[in-house]
Symmetry: D2
Subunit: 360 residues, 4 copies
């Protein structure tokens, strides 16, 4: 298969570095350019990151030699795909320019996620939402497009709730999170503040969880996506763990749960929507089982489960599925790798889907 050309926007940050690492090893993509802000533009990637490359792997040889461009479609090489790892405030301005210039933008930023004509994609759950791109192109007169990945905290909840929503309906959810430090990037949360501590507030996080899940589980209709209609009340905390977001969900269901085994069973058998299964064999970043169910009483745990899945770090692990206080409620724990499934890995999978569907 012919490789797709791609550029990485904001390639120097923590998500950008992961994208450089993943895409440089990926057989379907050819990195033709990398960009960053004014501070870095003009420098060789290797020189710029000499003391600031934060992955155990080495900087890929070829990328290390590239000169960083300014993040602007006039400066950056033309390409099929632009992977966007920009801060949200910049993404809001810059990504539309890339879409207008013909790039298919796979964006990690929150800026456009809740726009009515922008897909908020978790391929296993809502690949049909990519139909929004037709509407988007019409609305905005773009030759390219923008597709967004959800917030790292959203992903795990979305996977756990989708099968239950389909089978039992959901009235409301109480969501709590134990979020890893890597989610805050670098510099991110200061070491002194998070060591031996829990910080029960992450700016913007609860709003994202409470809205994004509803869009992801929403129904694609001719005019757009109709959001799922339940409500989520969340508390998001930062804990002294490097990687892996641990989360609990207490779910009030529409329909009676005769037997908690029925909930476990619907989680275990979930492989993705029919639309997703049609393209799955083309996706190297999609794990065989997007949900890994563990029966042990003390799982999931970040140390043991963050790299779960046949594509390490791309599956959501669910455990401790229990009845709530009545027959219309279920309590569960989950774990999702926040920088793989929750960030760079999602972007790569999203781009694979775009290729599989000939959107790019």
């Amino acid at each position: 298969m012919k490789k797709k050309s791609c550029v990485i926007l904001a390639a120097t940050g923590t998500v950008g570095q992961r994208l450089v690492d993943m895409l440089s090893k990926h057989p379907s993509f050819d990195i033709v350019d990398i960009s960053a802000s004014k501070r870095s533009a003009g420098l060789k990637y290797r020189d710029r990151l000499k003391d600031e490359w934060h992955l155990p792997s080495e900087i890929p040889e070829e990328i290390g030699e590239m000169t960083i461009k300014l993040t602007d479609p006039k400066e950056v090489e033309p390409a099929d795909i632009a992977f966007g790892a920009l801060p949200s405030s910049e993404a809001k301005v810059i990504e539309p320019k890339f879409a207008a210039a013909g790039y298919y933008v796979q964006s990690k930023a929150s800026a456009m996620r809740m726009e009515a004509d922008v897909p908020l994609l978790i391929p296993e759950l809502n690949v049909d939402h990519l139909e929004l791109i037709d509407i988007q192109r019409k609305n905005r007169d773009w030759s390219g497009a923008i597709t967004t990945d959800p917030n790292c905290t959203t992903v795990g909840f979305a996977f756990a709730l989708k099968p239950i929503y389909e089978e039992f309906g959901i009235k409301s959810v109480v969501a709590n999170t134990w979020q890893a430090i890597s989610g805050s990037g670098i510099p991110g949360v200061p070491g002194l503040l998070i060591n031996e501590n829990i910080i029960p507030f992450i700016k913007g996080e609860e709003e994202k969880v409470e809205s994004e899940v509803l869009k992801i589980l929403g129904k694609k209709e001719p005019s757009g996506v109709r959001n799922a209609e339940f409500r989520i009340a969340s508390t998001c905390t930062r804990v002294p763990i490097t990687d892996g977001h641990f989360e609990t969900a207490y779910i009030n269901t529409e329909r009676k749960i005769e037997n908690i085994e029925d909930v476990i069973s619907c989680l275990k058998k979930f492989k993705g929507t029919p639309e997703f299964l049609k393209i799955k064999q083309k996706l190297s970043y999609a794990p065989d089982d997007p949900i890994v169910y563990r029966s042990e009483i003390n799982r999931p745990q970040p140390r043991l489960d963050r790299m779960a899945g046949t594509v390490p770090g791309m599956a959501t692990t669910i455990g401790r599925v229990r009845r709530g206080i009545d027959d219309y409620s279920v309590n569960l724990c989950l774990l999702s790798h926040n920088t793989i499934r929750g960030a760079a890995g999602s972007s790569v999978l999203g781009a694979e889907v775009a290729i599989a569907l000939d959107l790019v």
Copy 2:
């Protein structure tokens, strides 16, 4: 005031060490004997703990010189009060013997907490439950008595729920915990399993939270305590923090919450029940405000708030009080020091109350 004589049962464990430290500095108590299991009996306390004293302070001079007795009322000196820091399975057998022998047993063990004629005491919340002791003495023909302290995880929830229960009524609670390592004692949870990890299961913990809170908030009636009637669904996790249990509670109320400020206000103004306030000035371990409310968006935090209160570590800090998904729900975060208010400090305060009420 004449000092009360006391003995410490299981004085070598982590709670026992804290009791030795606290009581040796306390003007109202005179430690006349210390006990432990067969392995330690006969040894000098200082020699036994040479490499296993785990507090920053030194072993108190006089206690260090004491010879450890076997935990048996036939071996231990007579005393007004027996502070019990035994494992639950042993407490079940041994503490009743001490109560029969005339000791007022202030017990940290879970063994007897839910017995109908045994008080489960948080003085600020239910000091009137100590009236159970009359029933207990009649039932069991004891000259002494047993009063129990709640589980470390229960305490914070009980403080947060009591004022809301009185003012708005409670239908149900979704409870989540981030529990410190010290709660597991020594050896407790292995370092390798909890470092850089979260363990989403603590044996027996969820059952305790879900039952103990209801007894503590229960109403003393002539024949005993009638438990509060709402239900709690909890998830208890261990996190890599030394001290301080962080907890969240999502509370569905009976009555409408017109304004979230009303909830905050009822928490801020809570000082204890009228029965408690009558004896408060006699209690050196009762902090001026049992609840410390923090208005900052990112509090409580273990590092900053675990030593809250005019008696450090004895107050519960509450923050992030927010509406839930409707007008009948409230979401909040709290922090309680698990080895002070949640263990040894509770025992000392409980014994102070017993003295204040002439129960001993």
Copy 3:
């Protein structure tokens, strides 16, 4: 005794906050003004630090109401003492202006530490070095003066080496450090980089240890201080601990060590130089024993020993004193609280000394 008036320069940083906390409770000092950089000047201290006060205690009532001034002697109120918590590059320029304007500057910055006419003070070890101030005033034509505190990492080594240097002479030292996160301040080292990690490099730290100790142990002569003449080779690392620098020193001595007990004995009996002992009773921040020796095989430990001393956090704990590979070498471990003895506490003690010696 009449209080001395003082100002705190850079009162918003982590050291500045500690100084505000300590000095506001100290009977000898009256905080008359606080300063910071342009970003903060003009704001109320409480408003500026609303979400950035990082101590468990509250912002002192009165200081909270003060308006922050720009760090400039023309803006700041006149005072006897200026406590300097400025970054080194700024201290280099600003502190001399305060000294020229008549303030006695007690500086935490490294900028002036190695200047020939500036004392680098650890009162127990070299209070006679304050005689440099006469030279300094002549040299620089200042009505005020500058005295500096050593780097947080230097302090522990200086205490451990001084008695051995006096008794056995020192030829060379191999020094290793395990430094706490708080030493880097806020933002300091990013959480993601230090959690579950060791960073074996701290900019400028090894140079400071290797030079400062020699000046502190140097001999005051009429013309200045003659540095001690041995050499130190150090490796400084950051470890995931909140507070307390753990350090090891392998010391090659000039004279034969007949018995390792002789080394232990000289450490245990050390109380300070004769010059120091003359003023000691006037110093509330000087612990009874500046060195706490522990005989346990597994001490010192940060969790247990960082608050050592009759003034918590002001004593250095030494343990594991052993022979090296021959009779001319000794190996030991030590622990020193980096933000108390290593920062704000040192400044307060230094100012107490200045008062005791009528330098201010």
Copy 4:
């Protein structure tokens, strides 16, 4: 190539579990039996470890079905190789029985390491020491043999010192360690004691480092190994890190170091002894470069470097190579994965060597 049959002694512990995981995936070995102590014997491996399997991977299907035998050559199936993960006190008694019964015992225990006729093997450094096996078999009349792996802390030092010893000679070494929690196994060090702490003592560790390195760097002579003759003074500490021992070595050399680049160069070019290089291509667990040299100022770090090497976790990373206080000294930092290169990985590599040399 025909597979070699093997058994794993003490297959339920942390090292045993790693061996099960590694060997079940290894093409050269066929696990024919597993053993443990009386408590576990008779149980299915999967059932025994249901809640105590501590690796992210799953229990290998076939091994899970095996019934655990008692660790006794009369109970265990005959096999070419016995991988020994026994506690040292048991190994001392049991391993010789297996050697006598014809097994080639690759032992992780310290019991026999310093015996004159037992190889203490790091293949890259001293594969010629395996000639001791002839002596051993004569001495002890064994049809099998025992070869030992060094202590996890020894390995990194041995790699760093070997090239320098060969090129410059060594007079003495000051060694310090920052050891990961996994080195203590499970239960190992209690979470409460190591979280937010450093413990400056590990029983037996310093003695091992100080003796084992000298044997490993010793010269094979007809009658046995003559130990290297320098001396090591070490301080071993436990730090709150999951995996990866960080260590520093301050080395006094026999010969003058004209240029520190000469030291770096001898470390970088080191690939193993000539005897090792002859068999290297037969060894799948030997990384291409046993020493990875890093030029960055802040490396090695556990998080980034523990999985270094073309066989992850099998290479030692060295950095910060600097002059000491004179031209006869060098200071360096190193990192070695304690449970891979320092434990199970060493055993697997050792067995591969035994096969390559037709010792089994």
